[in-house]
């Protein structure tokens, strides 16, 4: 990521806001595609769940909301069973347009978040937080431990399956929740010990300097502001 963490975060946030505010299909589709292109710069294995979530949500909105909404007069299709409250299913041109707009809005917002999650250096972003640095650090640390938790959950499941016991269904996995929490607490204690041994909590803390902002960072900031304004007024 060539952008510094702060301008990158602001740019992605602005893109998400612009996506929500936009009301024209083509510029919104273009914004979504650009955000998708940005996310594709992340490693394939990491980006997969983010992209799947973002695109599947948008697609779901596009497919289902025309069936549930009642809007417009240009009927494209009507039929199927009659449902209580909803009546007979039908799709109009206006409903399709609204569904596409809402689907793209949601996808753009999710992709903006994905780009932030996948590409921004969160450690440095936290370090740049001028207020409540301890709290910001705690949040970043908790985020860092999520992958460990996922790995522990997988390990627990494998360990039990390795003994020849099937782990299936919600109740099977729920039984592993308590040992997972116990293991996490143990890990937290070990981590606290390691942090103390590495000097955490000393009063003399300094910060590794971030790279000085380049013209690209300034352009990103200006671009972010422009995106919000454009989203509100023209997109």
């Amino acid at each position: 990521m060539k952008l510094a963490p702060v301008p990158a975060t602001l740019l992605f946030a602005s893109a998400g806001v612009a996506g929500l505010l936009a009301s024209h299909l083509i510029p919104l589709a273009a914004l979504t595609l650009v955000l998708l292109g940005v996310c594709l710069r992340a490693p394939a294995r990491r980006r997969r769940p983010y992209l799947y979530g973002a695109l599947a949500t948008g697609l779901g909105i596009f497919i289902f909301s025309p069936l549930l909404a009642v809007e417009g007069y240009n009927v494209l299709w009507q039929g199927g069973p009659t449902f209580p409250v909803l009546g007979q299913l039908g799709v109009t041109t206006e409903e399709l347009r609204t569904a596409a707009l809402n689907g793209l809005r949601l996808s753009a917002l999710a992709l903006a978040f994905s780009a932030y999650a996948l590409l921004v250096d969160h450690d440095r972003l936290v370090a740049a937080a001028g207020f409540a640095p301890r709290s910001a650090f705690a949040v970043a640390l908790a985020t860092r431990l999520v992958p460990s938790l996922e790995r522990d959950a997988g390990g627990l499941s494998d360990a039990v399956r390795g003994r020849g016991i099937r782990v299936s269904g919600a109740s099977g996995h729920a039984k592993l929740l308590s040992p997972l929490v116990a293991g996490s607490l143990e890990r937290a204690v070990n981590l606290a010990e390691a942090m103390e041994a590495r000097g955490f909590g000393r009063q003399t803390r300094t910060h590794a300097p971030g790279l000085p902002w380049t013209s690209l960072d300034r352009i990103a900031l200006a671009g972010g502001a422009f995106l919000v304004v454009a989203g509100a007024l023209w997109l």
């Binding site: 394939a44 294995r45 990491r46 250096d121 969160h122 450690d123 440095r124 970043a140 640390l141 985020t143 860092r144 992958p147 460990s148 790995r151 522990d152 390990g155 627990l156 494998d158 360990a159 039990v160 399956r161 390795g162 003994r163 020849g164 016991i165 039984k175 592993l176 308590s178 040992p179 116990a182 293991g183 143990e186 890990r187 070990n190 981590l191 606290a192 010990e193 390691a194 942090m195 103390e196 041994a197 590495r198 000097g199 955490f200 909590g201 000393r202 003399t204 803390r205 300094t206 910060h207 590794a208 300097p209």
Partner: protein, 448 residues
């Protein structure tokens, strides 16, 4: 003189015998000290005392005096000692704080107040010293255990400490990786105290040897003298000690496992296993060896049915049980007995017999997480073996295990196999005794 320990006696909170009893020693600049002893003998406690974590972090009763770089650890908190002292713990997952490698190495430097202009330069130097500069911008949670261990050492080296404490730091590294790792620590120029269970590795670097047992310092001598003492009193710890078990191959017996053409890739195009073939016969103990990343664990998991191969065939004539790496982390019940009985539908008689075989019969009512790390490992083994699978697979079972216990496990496994079953051990411990060794290499990726 960097550190001095005077008549140190320490008990952890909750009573029990002292973890350290009347230990005295001095550590000078440039010394590389191998700290040896059985699991639970007090090695880690001694390292923690030198880092100030005992008593500040753990509490307990502390008598005697420890001074490091002229600072009394009773009145100086561990965080204040950081920079003068650096510690690398056994499990890298439990000490990594930041999400990106460069930030992780910079974390300690920032804490001790290093001038900002120096930080990135020292980060790069430290990463270069452990041959990990290429990992600089990677995410820490995407790294393997071996890579993480190198990052932890880099984080310690970056501080340029006067005293570096290494608590079994190479447990997840293959032989070559471990040698590079220890050479980097030695190259620091300060004093190094290295607690290791792979004895030859530690002794090849050490200038001095400490042997701790039951919390007492039994030996403090230069390496050559120590070799004689170890050979006479603790032969399994002596340099080049012969394997305690030299089993002869069993006679030809029917195969219990047959795999052919097994391939696996975690991501498209990046093969971890490429058409691996392997046959294991009843009565055999087979070691599956290879460097980090060669696919040992992957193959073991495929055999155990925990992963589906992309291609190839796995046939097993019987039930399979697998003990994962670090089994002490994956205990799921509220008592030792229930843990062992889980795989046999709560059959306490069989669970007690399995616990008896690994020496845990006196601890059946204890909570698994109250056991020591060595006891947890044995409980993990009992919890898998209780169902008496025809093929028992163990992934790195000697990690952090002392030589006596390793010999005991090897003997136990040989007996297990001799009863008409088979054992497959995935490990990079080249000294683990077996009837047959099968290599997975990064270049060939084929088991023979």
């Amino acid at each position: 003189m960097i550190a001095r320990v005077e008549h140190l006696t320490f008990c952890y909170p909750g009573g029990g015998p002292p973890a350290l009893s009347d230990v005295s020693l001095q550590i000078g600049t440039g010394e590389v000290i191998a700290l040896l002893g059985p699991s639970g003998s007090g090695k880690s406690t001694l390292l923690r005392a030198l880092a100030g974590l005992v008593p500040h972090f753990h509490g307990g009763r502390f008598a005697g005096r420890v001074t490091v770089a002229g600072l009394d650890t009773r009145t100086t908190r561990p965080a204040e000692l950081a920079g003068r002292v650096a510690t690398v713990f056994q499990d890298p997952e439990d000490q990594v704080v930041m999400a990106r490698v460069a930030n992780e190495v910079a974390f300690g430097l920032e804490n001790i107040g290093t001038a900002p202009a120096e930080i990135w330069q020292r980060v790069d130097e430290a990463l270069t010293a452990v041959d990990a500069l290429h990992l600089r911008d990677r995410l820490t949670f995407e790294l393997s255990g071996g890579e993480l261990q190198r990052i932890c050492l880099a984080s310690a080296l970056a501080l340029r400490p006067e005293l570096i404490l290494l608590d079994e730091p190479t447990s997840q590294l293959d032989s070559d990786g471990a040698e590079d790792f220890l050479a980097a620590a030695e190259g620091l120029g300060g004093a190094v105290v290295l607690s290791e269970q792979r004895i030859d590795r530690a002794l090849s670097l050490a200038t001095r040897v400490l042997f701790v047992e039951g919390g007492r310092l039994l030996l403090d001598a230069p390496r050559d003298e120590a070799g004689d003492w170890l050979a006479a009193h603790r032969p399994r710890y002596a340099p080049g000690a012969p394997e305690s078990l030299r089993p002869s191959p069993p006679t030809e017996s029917p195969p219990i496992l047959s795999i052919s053409g097994v391939s696996y890739a975690y991501s498209p195009g990046v093969l971890v296993l490429d058409e691996a073939d392997l046959v294991v016969r009843r009565g055999e103990v087979v070691v599956l060896e290879g460097p980090n990343g060669s696919g040992k664990t992957t193959l073991a998991k495929i055999i155990a049915g925990l992963l589906e191969p992309d291609a190839g065939r796995v046939e097993c004539a019987g039930r399979i049980g697998m003990l994962l790496q670090d089994p002490g982390r994956y205990l799921v019940r509220e008592s030792v007995l229930e843990e062992a009985a889980l795989a046999v539908d709560g059959d306490h008689a069989r669970a007690r017999a399995a616990l008896d075989r690994v020496g845990l019969d006196a601890l059946v009512e204890r909570h698994p997480r109250d056991l020591s790390s060595g006891e947890r490992e044995r409980l993990g083994l009992a919890a898998v073996a209780v169902a008496e699978p025809d093929l028992l697979i163990l992934d790195e079972p000697t990690r952090g295990i002392d030589p006596d216990r390793k010999a005991a496990i090897a003997a136990w496994l040989e007996n297990y196999a001799a009863s008409g079953r088979a054992v497959l051990v995935a490990t990079h411990d080249r000294s683990f005794p077996a009837h047959r060794r099968v290599s997975l290499s990064k270049e060939v990726l084929v088991a023979v």
